[in-house]
């Protein structure tokens, strides 16, 4: 296991109280695995991704542990985390388009960043890696404003993985892209893993269809908790959690037509995480729910590498 997350809880401080955005999530990330982290707005996937890198001012580590290559990460200690960031765990952020300092040439920014982390630049290696994602070396002599959106994103991918981190968190990296570019980005990310530049990866996205093309396994979250985690083919063809099933059922595949067979969504909305109700959080929207669901379902391994948090899944 590269990464082990155990009962991780991260809360947001707000005026009205603490929002339990991530409320006890456990999972493991194997060596070489790409884990797709999927779910809808407010499910906690972005919070989880952020927590592994850096808690912002409003976030509070409320419990649980994260173990990376045998070391427990000091999540709450911003300074102590610096030792792990970039070297061991790195990020391709959602805001890649604006992640580069606008007044520094890309090459100089990389040099200064590496120098600040006590690493010297291997120019040949840097060029090789740029080439790997299809960028010409002259990118280094340009200012970010001279690069297209896609070029900036690929540049950020190269920078984030320069120190060969164990875990790379890719946060909604494809959401602003056209379909044809999505394919290229997903290809580049897989390439980074295949060439061993990153050991494992967490691919955070709201797009279940896209995740299934990159991920070895997929974890679906709902309202701050894990709903289901399974190898990609298992999760997409034989999901056990009612939420996963309904979610997949609501995705129109190419060729599906309203005229032939209307699809249906999921009525209702997720509960507020300010004071989440006890029991299964999907209960109110679940067609299978019964009295037992008033009790919180534990995440159970129903088959090898297949974990489901639902009383009805066993």
């Amino acid at each position: 296991m590269t990464l082990t997350v155990d009962d991780l809880r991260v809360h947001y401080r707000t005026l009205r109280g603490e929002v339990r955005a991530l409320d006890g999530v456990s999972f493991g990330l194997a060596d070489g695995e790409i884990l797709g982290l999927a779910g809808e707005s407010g499910c906690g996937k972005t919070t989880l991704g952020k927590s592994l890198i850096r808690l912002d001012g409003r976030m509070r580590h409320a419990g649980g542990t994260v173990t990376l290559d045998g070391d427990e990460l000091p999540l709450a200690d911003d300074r102590a985390m610096n030792a792990y960031r970039f070297h061991k765990i790195s990020l391709v952020p959602q805001y890649s388009m604006s992640a580069l300092n606008p007044t520094r040439r890309v090459g100089r920014m990389i040099r200064e960043l590496l120098a600040s982390r006590g690493v010297s630049v291997d120019t040949d290696e840097l060029r090789r890696r740029l080439d790997l994602v299809g960028l010409a070396p002259d990118v280094l002599d340009r200012y970010p404003i001279e690069l297209s959106g896609g070029m900036k994103q690929r540049t950020v991918m190269v920078i984030s993985t320069l120190l060969d981190p164990s875990v790379l968190v890719a946060d909604e990296v494809t959401s602003a892209l056209d379909v044809s570019n999505q394919q290229a980005v997903v290809g580049a990310l897989t390439g980074l893993r295949d060439k061993g530049l990153v050991t494992s990866m967490i691919f955070v996205t709201h797009d279940l269809g896209l995740t299934s093309h990159i991920a070895d396994s997929i974890m679906v979250m709902y309202a701050g908790k894990l709903a289901e985690k399974a190898p990609t083919t298992v999760l997409t063809t034989a999901p056990r959690h009612p939420y996963t099933r309904m979610l997949i059922g609501s995705l129109p595949q190419v060729g599906a037509r309203y005229k032939d067979k209307p699809l249906s969504g999921i009525e209702g909305s997720p509960p507020s995480l300010l004071n989440p109700p006890a029991g299964c959080r999907f209960r109110d929207r679940c067609p299978l729910a019964d009295a037992r669901c008033a009790e919180e379902p534990p995440a159970v391994e129903v088959a090898p590498r297949h974990t489901v948090a639902c009383w009805k899944a066993a």
Binding site: R85, F86, T103
Partner: protein, 331 residues
Amino acid sequence: MRRYFARKLLVYALTFVVAVTVNWMIPRFMPGDPVAAMVARARVSQPEAAEAMRTYYNNLFGFDEPLWQQYLHFWGALLQGDFGISIWVFPTPVGDVLLDALPYTLGLMIPSVLLSWFVGNWIGALSARRKVLDNTVLPVGYVLTAMPYMWIAVILAWALGGQAGWFPLSGGYSLDIQPGWNTAFALDALHHWVLPFLSLFLVALGGWAIGMRNMIIYELESDYSSYLSALGAPQRLIRRYAFRNAVLPQVTGLALQLGVLVAGALVTEIVFAYPGLGSLILASIQNQDFFLLQGAFLFIVIGVLIANFLIDVVYVVVDPRTRTGMAGGTS
């Protein structure tokens, strides 16, 4: 980049035309008979001077000519460097009077503006996101920036000049010293320079510090700062980048503040009877010397335009985006 400068120069040219036109229009379109009023109000003691004034005004305004001709003549004279004759120091040309005063104003303004800008930005950058400093720098900054220039000048003169007796209260140099290129004069001039400089410096300092503090907080929240933090870059580097980028709007701010800074210099000179443009303006108002006043106005406008252009050049140097021709720049 060429477009950027072309645009700027167009604005400055237009500004100059507008300023000259305003200058020409006001005496003509204000209610009343300006010549009679001026001669009557001038209270010139020598009769020949009063007569010369009357003839001179009538010739110059040329009220029997059509307006457009008056306007063209005005421009013609201006382009030959003719700002008219001063009444206060009759019959010295206004241009000469102003040129004599100019070094004092520039000598006061340039160091105070530049130093307050650099020191203010430095203090502001230090205080951003540092609670103790922030809590002291901000209130002091606001008090400073809210002070009228002349008041801080009066207070400084009273405290450091009058009470403590460290510095002279007025003038650009002692009356018993002849201006010249020698050490004695230089030291004396410097001695007189300190208090006016300090007043200008202090008021402007507060504003720059506050501006920088706010800008740097904004930069520290930006995406590139978050990205650097996510990669574990030390605060030192992140602050350096934030400072570098927060300086850009401060350069623009310098251009925006020029008018205010000039105004501050004028009233400060008046407090200290410092022999620059400000004192000339006061004298011209007290003596109803309108040619001198209008000449001073044009001098100030030209100075501000030149300064604006220099700031534009600096902006292009510090912001690579203007050079790549992809972003607009200051205005």
